[in-house]
Amino acid sequence: MTVQAEAAADAPLDLRGDELLVVENLKKHFPITRGIMFQKQIASVRAVDGVTFSVREGETLGVVGESGCGKSTMARCILKLLEPTGGSIKFRGHDITRLSRTEMRPFRREMMMIFQDPYASLNPRKRVGFIVAEALQVHKLGTEAEIKRRVQELLQVVGLNPEHYNRFPHEFSGGQRQRIGVARALAVNPKLIVCDEPVSALDVSVQAQILNLLKDLQRDFGLTYVFIAHDLNVVRHISDRVMVMYLGQIVEQADRTGLYTEPKHPYTGALLSAVPVPDPAVGRNRKRLVLEGDVPSPINPPSACRFHPRCPRFVEGHCDVEEPALIRRGSAPNHVAKCHYPLERWPMSEDEMRRVGAASRAAASTASAS
């Protein structure tokens, strides 16, 4: 039974020693309770359920997935904004999983976050200068005058007018507010910045400005990004490696080119084929693979492979019984996918995708009949 031997364990992390962040088997379960006096846990939302990955210094790891797949919860766990239920997070070799708030403090200035909604993530009653300076003041980095100079320098770096120091957030447009968010994240010279959908609320022209800015800053300051987005085009543009999440788990992870040119997991294939192509000649003749239904509930995820109820390659009696392991599937050594029947080539039409499932199903039924 080679299949079962394969399914025994996920491929181990291939560590090179220059990893800034190593996350192993990270879990975050939110309890669902009933009762007022004696709250009894009746179930849990398994938002992140066993995620293992690493991020090297200076690289950008893209994270994609549909809403509800646990990408944002994962991001908040990495920064310890949420207490993980299980697993470990190592930052620069230090295990920060169980650190208390005070113990976390020295690490806080090395890991920052940029949020999705530039309208909600800035305090409307504080001036821009204060918003950007706050982290510097909290960590006591410099005198009042030094901090002010630093803030003006930061505003300049992100392409804002330093004289706008005393303005309020409402005086800025969406793109400019996101620049303020970037300046705030940069203030304390962090090593790692987690960007949670930083451009999805912006118009395309402004989105390009922010993406270019993030790339420039990475080059100038040697930043490391974990970049979360649901837009595959954006993730491809900015990432070195990409990881695809589905229902709290990683289903595929590879170098950017590997993932986009030879996706192995049917879910990645479905995501890629769902992206509209801005070229009528290509777009019209292309057959979209349309996934049926919505992401199932993480309270009670499907058995074995969590993608099986929506998968075009679903093989009864295998995919819904035995959970596939995240193992090497692509041509590159670091290309891993969590699927029993990975895609043989790409692009693939919906019919071709289904054929494998049908063939294996037929084989399985004849085997059981004989």
Binding site: V204, A208, V275, P278, E292, G293
Partner: protein
């Protein structure tokens, strides 16, 4: 006669700060069965154009001029009563946000049936049967049971389907979809686009698709209108606009898209922010952000003129034809080179 003919449509809003010219001289036509894509950034007047056509602007604050001829009848001068007859019956609209456009305290089935019973004198049972039929058509599983569910029991994609079902319940001749997929995941977006295309084939409705996603436009539109700061910058058949874009703003939009099929180190970005419509820039409204700006652009507002020898392709830019062809070719060649 086209189904809808919009001529020199203008909508101004009076505000405390002055007059906002939200739509400033927009003209286009939509034929039966045709899909028109309207592209532009937030605040370019896409949505207000459609709201004006539907007569959904606040009549006290907004003043409109021009014409919106629906089968020859001007919608701008039509009575509220006549508009109510047309809305949801011959012209239907899908709004951007499926979370807020359904009434949270009524069952889905009742809301759908109401949309039908407003226009046709049919029994409750007939309306309910039709509601069920539509829910099935838009691909909602176990539709019989879901008729009695409330909006909060549906996910975002499902709610958007319910909105589409409601818009289609009276077989409208024109469906106006205002960013119907913007709030959704790519997979759900693909489902919704496939659904709109299928229903269009089935019922032969015309569609106006408002979006900021050029990808969506390329996939489903026949004609494209690019709007910038309340005006039309460029208007052309979809193949033409992607093959020979003529306006620097269109170039900017195309260049700023990160694409799956092309590796680019830096995206072409359009400098600056969209202008305020309270005090739009002089001359060509795009000139403060345009890399090709010439003195004439600051003084004279370019007219929307037909591209020589290309019927149906209109553009509003002072640059000469030669430069435009050269720059457009350069942009597209750049994209191709990166794609290969």
């Amino acid at each position: 006669m086209p189904l809808l003919e919009v001529n020199d449509l203008k909508t101004y809003f009076r505000t405390d700060d002055g007059v906002v010219r939200a739509v400033d001289g927009v003209s286009f036509t939509v034929d039966k069965g045709q899909t028109l894509g309207i592209v532009g950034e937030s605040g370019s007047g896409k949505s207000v154009t459609c709201l004006t056509i539907m007569g959904l602007n606040n009549r006290r604050a907004a003043s409109s001029s021009g014409q919106a001829l629906w089968k020859g009848e001007d919608l701008l001068t039509a009575s509220s009563r006549r508009l109510r007859e047309l809305r949801g019956h011959e012209i239907a609209m899908i709004f951007q946000d499926p979370m807020t456009s359904l009434n949270p305290v009524h069952k889905i089935g009742d809301q759908l049936a109401e949309a039908m019973r407003l226009h046709d004198d049919v029994s409750k049972a007939t309306a309910r049967a039709r509601a069920l039929e539509l829910l099935k058509a838009v691909g909602i599983p176990r539709a019989e049971r879901r008729l009695d569910d409330y909006p909060h029991q549906f996910s975002g994609g499902m709610r958007q389907r319910v909105m589409i079902a409601m818009a289609l319940i009276n077989n409208p001749d024109l469906l106006i979809a205002d960013e119907p997929t913007t709030a959704l995941d790519v997979t759900t977006q693909a489902q919704i686009l496939a659904l709109i295309e299928r229903l269009q084939e089935e019922f032969g409705s015309a569609v106006i698709m408002i979006t900021h996603d050029l990808g969506v436009v390329a996939e489903i539109a026949d004609d494209v209108v690019v709007m910038y700061a309340a005006e039309i910058a460029e208007k052309a058949p979809v193949d033409e606009i992607f093959k020979r874009p003529h306006h620097p703003y269109t170039w900017g939009l195309m260049g700023s898209l990160p694409r799956l099929d092309a590796d680019v180190d830096r995206l072409v970005q359009i400098q600056g922010q969209p202008p305020s419509l309270l005090r739009p820039p002089s001359g060509c409204r795009f000139h403060p952000r345009c890399p090709y700006v010439m003195p004439v652009c600051r003084e004279q507002d370019p007219e929307l003129l037909q591209v020589p020898d290309v019927p149906g392709h209109f553009q509003a830019c002072h640059l000469d034809e030669e430069t435009k062809n050269r720059e457009a070719a350069k942009l597209l060649a750049g994209m191709m080179a990166e794609a290969s």
